[in-house]
């Protein structure tokens, strides 16, 4: 069990000591850094391939279809077939496109999401670079992706691509605000922006201490990732394919890759800050296995969203963010700050909650506060919620207008 838990660390150690027989220590460090970067990005690419299969299979089942089942057992080799197809396609640069920006954009889209995994603790002591500002680093990276999207949209010289890029970035910018505000509340609780410290502070997963924030975070994360029901930037019926309309072959594949790996990165972030990271729950499995189980459970929720919800309209989306999520998460920071003052979890880097009884009290206090907060918010927002529900029942205004026209005719 212990050996299995430390499997990857032992492999790394053994490799390091093997190398240091021939090479000076500096070279070993540099090689080690390069190798861990390569291993992490390869792992991310493998997860991407697996995810494309998983998503198609799950959504297929939800829609009463079978999904890919031709290539390999259960269609498991489908991603490889797709990859071969992508790689063998001709690489086209449309006429009138700004060549450098057009070709640079897919690379710049993938690079930041790959860098995501440098700070994520995948298991006990399994983190490539344990930055003391890890949360800030992740936020900075996710905002750097937007530049690549704007580049792609502008360089394609296509109105659908331009519109799609502007919608995508407007959406990502807006939904970053509630995400950051929720992370701020969690940082207040853990007293650190270091992700390992955040995991260490979660004697009880923060999802239990902050259930309302957890739900909001999942919704805002889906929007930040441009996933259904928030996939307006790529609404096929309105915009062809959004900012990557003009891209084909592996250039398109890179955008797909950025999207899926960002989804996995977000799932890793949710796992780390809300679900206790690699900490095992009840069943003693290796810590990295627990991390992966939790991360894929979060991914399953994202895929489930896609199979279930219809797409929102762009004005509904922005109104939802700025009129609901931003004020609510801002209030959440204040409420959390007050609770943290009276019931601190971490003080000066030391966990101050003592024993099971202490954790029980802390959990009850935080949970109750969060639930009361959520109920007050629900009461404050009862009227807009009813309006929204009525709108869904009656149908969208455009559709209603159309049916009136049909009746008049």
């Amino acid at each position: 069990m212990q050996a299995l838990d430390r499997l990857f660390i032992s492999i790394g150690r053994a490799f390091n000591s093997f190398l240091s027989q021939f090479l000076p220590p500096t070279a070993v460090t540099v090689i080690g850094m390069f190798l861990s970067a390569i291993i992490i990005s390869t792992f991310a690419a493998l997860v991407f391939m697996f995810l494309t299969w998983l998503e198609r299979k799950f959504v297929g089942r939800m829609q009463d279809r079978i999904g890919p089942n031709r290539v390999g057992p259960f269609g498991l080799l489908q991603p490889i077939a797709d990859a071969i197809k992508m790689f063998t396609k001709e690489l086209i640069t449309p006429e009138g496109a700004h060549k450098v920006a057009y070709n640079l954009a897919p690379i710049l889209a993938v690079a930041p999401v790959m860098m995501f995994f440098a700070v994520i603790p995948f298991g006990r002591d399994m983190v490539a670079a344990d930055l003391d500002v890890g949360v800030l680093y992740l936020v900075a990276l996710s905002s750097a992706t937007e530049v690549a999207i704007l580049m792609a949209g502008w360089a394609s010289r296509n109105k659908f691509a331009l519109l799609g890029a502007m919608r995508a970035v407007a959406q990502m910018l807006s939904y970053e605000v509630p995400l950051v505000l929720i992370l701020l509340a969690l940082v207040l609780m853990a007293g650190s922006m270091q992700l390992t410290e955040l995991v260490a502070a979660q004697g009880v997963p923060f999802a239990l201490l902050q259930p309302v924030a957890f739900l909001i975070f999942i919704v805002a994360a889906a929007a930040e990732l441009n996933r259904t029901p928030f996939d307006i930037p790529e609404a096929e019926s309105e915009l062809v394919a959004g900012y990557h309309t003009e891209y084909g072959g592996m250039k398109f594949g890179l955008f797909m890759m950025a999207e899926f790996i960002a989804a996995f990165g977000m799932a890793c972030l949710v796992t780390t800050v809300f679900l206790g990271g690699w900490r095992p729950w009840i069943i003693p499995l290796p810590s990295w296995l627990w991390f992966l189980i939790k991360a894929f459970a979060v991914l399953f929720v994202f895929i489930w969203f896609r199979g279930t919800f219809p797409r929102l309209r762009i004005d509904q989306l922005q109104a939802f963010c700025w009129k609901f999520l931003v004020p609510v998460t801002l209030l959440n920071v204040i409420v959390t700050g007050v609770v943290v003052t009276f019931f601190p979890i971490v003080r000066d880097g030391q966990i101050v909650v003592q024993g099971a009884g202490g954790w029980a009290v802390t959990t009850v206090v935080y949970f109750a506060t969060s639930v009361v907060f959520g109920l007050i918010i629900a009461w404050l927002y009862r009227r807009p919620t009813q309006q929204a529900l009525r709108q869904i029942e009656v149908g969208r205004p455009a559709a209603r207008g159309l049916s009136q026209e049909v009746q008049a005719a």
Partner: protein, 166 residues
């Protein structure tokens, strides 16, 4: 040349080269892309000098917010931006070029001739900036912090009021 000097030279060349690319590019959009490279180079300089926190803040705010805002504004004013033949400079640009070159020369000479009061060798460097800066903003530097936050709020409201369509 040590590794640190090498990294510095690379980062400085990227920064200055992209800055030249920015002011000379014909299209404003391409200029904005160059500007993002400048911001990245400056972030690298911050990290190199030992202010990692500030480097990440630089990426977050300059690339993630200011550059994206500027790219957005460029996309929202298409009729002007779309014209590639419009002259990029005003009439006074040769004069400005001479003056700014002179400014650069004067500053460089001044920098080289001044005897800077360097800190003692081996003065301890603070680590854990996030904590230290947070404490600083809440104690010694609370007035600039509050003024800056009020300024941000006013700018936010002002920007919304100005850009609003009637």
């Amino acid at each position: 040349m040590t590794a640190e000097q090498f990294v510095f030279v690379v980062a400085a060349l990227i920064t200055l080269g992209s800055a030249v690319g920015m002011v000379t590019s014909r299209s404003v959009f391409v200029g904005a892309l160059w500007m993002i490279a400048v911001f990245g180079g400056v972030a690298a300089l911050f990290i190199l000098v030992g202010a990692g926190f500030l480097g990440i803040v630089q990426i977050l705010i300059y690339i993630g917010a200011i550059a994206v805002l500027i790219l957005f504004a460029i996309m929202l004013t298409p009729r002007v931006m779309g014209d590639p033949n419009a002259p990029r400079y005003n009439r006074q640009w040769p004069l400005v070029a001479v003056m700014t070159t002179g400014l650069a020369a004067v500053l460089t000479v001044l920098v080289l001739r001044t005897d800077w009061p360097l800190a003692q060798e081996g003065t301890p460097v603070i680590t854990g900036f996030a904590v230290e800066l947070g404490k600083g903003f809440m104690t010694t530097y609370i007035l600039p912090f509050e003024v800056a936050s009020v300024l941000l709020l006013v700018a936010l409201i002002g920007a919304i009021v100005i850009a609003r369509e009637e």
